[in-house]
């Protein structure tokens, strides 16, 4: 069994440094296993968030060699181990300690989204094809890697004016729910800043659930906003056919 060297950020919002740890590498080991080894043997107070360790909960997000990843799904044997592996916290959110960041802003954005509101008189019959279109969006595990990588948030820090890809996915899931009866286009345009997205697809690239965030959520939502606010005829037609 060979060793790997990890350089892990240790510190708080006030500052910190990369600290080196030497970790034995076992077959199939993931970065989160290496972090647990550090906790268990070298630095018991290393702060890491994790839960399921199976790519289902989205807790263990961090940047591995500068790339936003779920550490539970990043295999050590996929990394060049002749050099140290750098593990740093998500850049778009304030650091609490070590690899743990303050993601509470996301929960505040979520609270502003009107919930699913079924149309009156529905018989709850839904076709599998209609379900599948929306299920793609509901696969989201809220790892916030898409938020972390989005340049509107990461480089320009426009959290006041922009909801971010995670919440466009969430709104898409509600808007395209076959039985939903309310419109969220005004919210998208005026509060969540959908127009600020210039579809560079960085979010889609990092999504561990392979959700086609840009193509299947953001672009259709942009079209709906255009229809509702800039194309009165389409708006009337849609109302007629929806009803």
């Amino acid at each position: 069994m060979s060793d790997a060297v990890l350089k892990v950020f240790r510190g708080t919002s006030a500052g910190g440094e990369l600290v080196e740890y030497r970790v034995p590498v076992a077959p199939g080991m993931v970065v989160l296993d290496a972090l647990h080894h550090i906790q268990g043997h070298l630095a018991p107070d290393l702060a890491v968030r994790w839960n399921c360790k199976a790519g289902k909960c989205g807790s263990c997000s961090a940047e591995v060699n500068g790339r936003p990843r779920l550490t539970c799904k990043t295999r050590m044997d996929s990394l060049p181990l002749e050099e140290p592996v750098t593990v740093t916290p998500m850049k778009a959110f304030p650091v609490i300690r070590d690899l743990v960041t303050d993601v509470s802003w996301n929960y505040e954005v979520n609270r502003r989204i009107p919930p699913f509101s079924p149309r009156a008189g529905t018989d709850w019959k839904i076709s599998q094809a209609d379900v599948e279109r929306v299920q793609e969006f509901r696969k989201c595990i809220e790892c916030f890697l898409c938020q972390n990588v989005c340049h509107v948030l990461r480089d320009h820090d426009k959290k006041e004016r922009f909801g971010g890809p995670r919440f466009f996915v969430r709104v898409a899931g509600l808007e395209m729910h076959p039985l939903d009866g309310v419109s969220r286009t005004k919210l998208l345009k005026e509060e969540l800043g959908l127009g600020l997205c210039n579809i560079t697809k960085c979010c889609t690239e990092v999504c561990p659930e392979d959700i086609h965030i840009t193509d299947n959520a953001i672009i259709p939502l942009k079209e709906r906003v255009v229809d509702d606010f800039y194309d009165p005829i389409a708006k009337i037609l849609r109302k007629v056919f929806r009803a």
Partner: protein
């Protein structure tokens, strides 16, 4: 106490934000109560998110012959008749409404050709009964409940851990805890407290459970004077991953077998023919787990000490659609393409049938003001839980706990926490830093999990259990000498040091109860008492705190009324 702490006040405090906690909170909110929800992780990350296969509810969308009576019968039969019959009845009767309610709140289940909720087969269920969303049903459920609760206006205290329940005389009046982020203390005043903290899998080495599953709720209830029931019944799920080492124990959903997956040993033999020729792979979890364990022990295991589970005879597109997360899990973590070849699987500690003894109708414990729902509570599943009955349990009894907690809060006087308890709780948490030298909590945890795995596992016998108990008690003494390094700021070592206390208490309860039950039944298999004994079928075991030690008692299993009893007889 010299250190200041903040105080929050609610009518109802819910501890735990998985399916049961969120459903309880929603119900209590609906009754007009002010509700606070405390959770150790971020909202939406609780263990429910990992549930895969589905929610059992007799909707009869696929198999028209299904109804609550058959679901009741299957649950009792699976639990080897040690279940609280009234819980099993309420659960079977109410589960369909709870599923429909989820749909009305926005959950989107897979559909039948008629556009109804699709249901799949699962072990021990007579009919196709599990409502599902591919193999990520738990995610759908927790997201739906979380959004519903947020919209209704519950207060969520994320990354906050409760270390003690506060009492005013006999009744519970709040809780003491700390914020994981800053390490500061917080006191919650509440008229009712609902425990929804889940299970105890982190006390075993090979487990499908996350770091959160440390038996907190059972330990809090025990310290507050409540009784713990059926603690000998720990479910080992038959199919966890066995290779590579880092993923050992991660769950492989029963839906693989529900969709037609076949188990074989290294000789290519479909060995379930020898253990349950009738139900084969869809036998109950206790039977399948013992079968795989036995195959391995007798030298017919796979390269890495498991069994083969194969679904690759189904079309690749079908597998990817019905079991998408299994497909990705094996491809990414084990380099196995399950559409082309078999998985290697073996038993993993998965679920606790035992827990806080509760009243069937109200989910109230024996301590006034204290309620429990979901995995932390006991009774519904008896000696063995059927797959799919956990998610429905969370919804049915989460709702009942929330309702009863809100009603209790309406009648209860204002909570008055006694300051002495708070100071004591704070002192306990600070002591870890104050010792000049001591052991690492991680080392102790490694020793505990190794002992439980070796001595209190799937097959048990007296000498092992005695040794296990001795080790647990030795570890309890060592736990008093644990020292934590670093500061109080998001310090996982400190958190583990406290969680260890809960794990040790629950481990002791499991070993004590397992030692006492001199028979084999459901998930409890004694090599020295291999037969099921009808006399033991009349008794549940309970543990409770008496002074500073653990007392073990028996309680008679409450007899099934004649009309329901007739249903059970028709099964055999």
């Amino acid at each position: 106490m010299s250190e200041k702490y903040e105080t929050r006040e609610h009518d109802v405090l819910v501890i735990g934000a998985g399916g049961a906690g969120l459903r309880a909170a929603i119900e209590a909110l609906g009754q007009g109560a002010s509700v606070g929800v405390v959770c150790k992780s971020l909202l939406g990350k609780a263990h429910t998110v990992m549930a895969e296969g589905g929610i059992a509810a007799a909707m009869a969308n696929v198999d028209r012959g299904d109804d609550w009576r058959t679901h009741f019968r299957d649950t009792m039969k699976g639990g080897k008749y040690l279940n609280n019959w009234r819980m099993a009845q309420l659960h079977a009767q109410e589960a369909p409404d709870r599923v429909r309610e989820l749909e009305q709140w926005g959950a989107l289940f897979d559909r039948t050709a008629d556009g109804d909720i699709l249901q799949r087969a699962f072990g021990g269920h007579t009919f196709k009964r599990l409502c599902h969303v591919g193999d990520r049903t738990g995610l759908e459920m927790i997201r739906t409940l979380q959004d519903r609760g947020v919209q209704m206006g519950f207060h969520v205290y994320m990354e906050c851990a409760v270390t003690r329940l506060l009492k005013d005389g006999d009744r519970v009046c709040g809780a003491f805890g700390y914020w994981r982020e800053q390490g500061r203390f917080v006191v919650f005043k509440a008229k009712s407290v609902v425990l929804a903290t889940g299970g105890i899998g982190k006390a075993w080495q090979v487990t499908s459970n996350s770091w959160e599953y440390t038996g907190d709720g059972m330990s809090l209830a025990y310290d507050a004077g409540a009784e713990l029931l059926d603690m000998e019944f720990v479910q080992f799920h038959p199919t966890g991953m066995v290779w590579p080492p880092g993923v050992q124990g991660i769950l492989v959903t029963e839906a693989v077998r529900g969709e037609g997956g076949v188990l074989t040993n290294r000789q290519g033999e479909r060995f379930m023919t020898r253990y349950d020729p009738e139900k084969m792979e869809l036998s109950t979890r206790d039977v399948v787990a013992r079968a795989i364990y036995t195959e391995v022990r007798e030298g017919r295991g796979t390269e890495h000490g498991g069994a083969y589970l194969d679904i690759s005879h189904k079309p690749a597109e079908y597998v990817k659609k019905k079991l998408p997360s299994m497909y990705h899990q094996f491809l990414e973590l084990a380099d196995v393409d399950i559409t082309k070849g078999p998985m290697e699987v073996g038993p993993t500690c998965h679920y606790m049938m035992g827990g806080v003894r509760v009243d069937a109708e109200t989910a109230s414990s024996s301590v006034p003001g204290l309620f429990a729902a979901g995995e932390v509570a006991a009774g519904l599943h008896g000696a063995n839980r059927l797959g799919g009955n956990s998610l429905s349990d969370l919804l049915v009894f989460g709702r009942r706990a929330g309702l009863a907690a809100a009603e209790h809060a309406n009648r209860a006087p204002a909570p008055g926490a006694d300051g002495g308890q708070i100071e004591d709780a704070a002192r306990e948490m600070l002591a870890y830093f104050e010792r000049p030298a001591g052991e690492s909590p991680y080392a102790l945890h490694r020793d505990l999990t190794a002992s439980m795995q070796e001595l209190v596992g799937i097959f048990r016998e007296e000498a092992d259990l005695e040794r296990g108990l001795a080790r647990i008690r030795e570890l309890q003494e060592r736990a008093d000498r644990v020292r934590v390094e670093g500061s109080r700021l998001f310090n996982p070592g400190w958190h583990l040091a406290r969680d260890l206390r809960s794990m040790l208490m629950v481990s002791e309860a499991v070993a004590v109860s397992a030692l006492a039950r001199k028979e084999s039944r459901g998930a409890h298999s004694r090599l020295d008492f291999p037969k099921t004994d009808p006399e033991w079928g009349k008794r549940n075991l309970v543990v409770a705190k008496r002074g500073d030690s653990m007392a073990l008692d028996e309680r008679p299993v409450s007899p099934v009324p004649p009309d329901l009893g007739a249903l059970l007889e028709s099964a055999t």
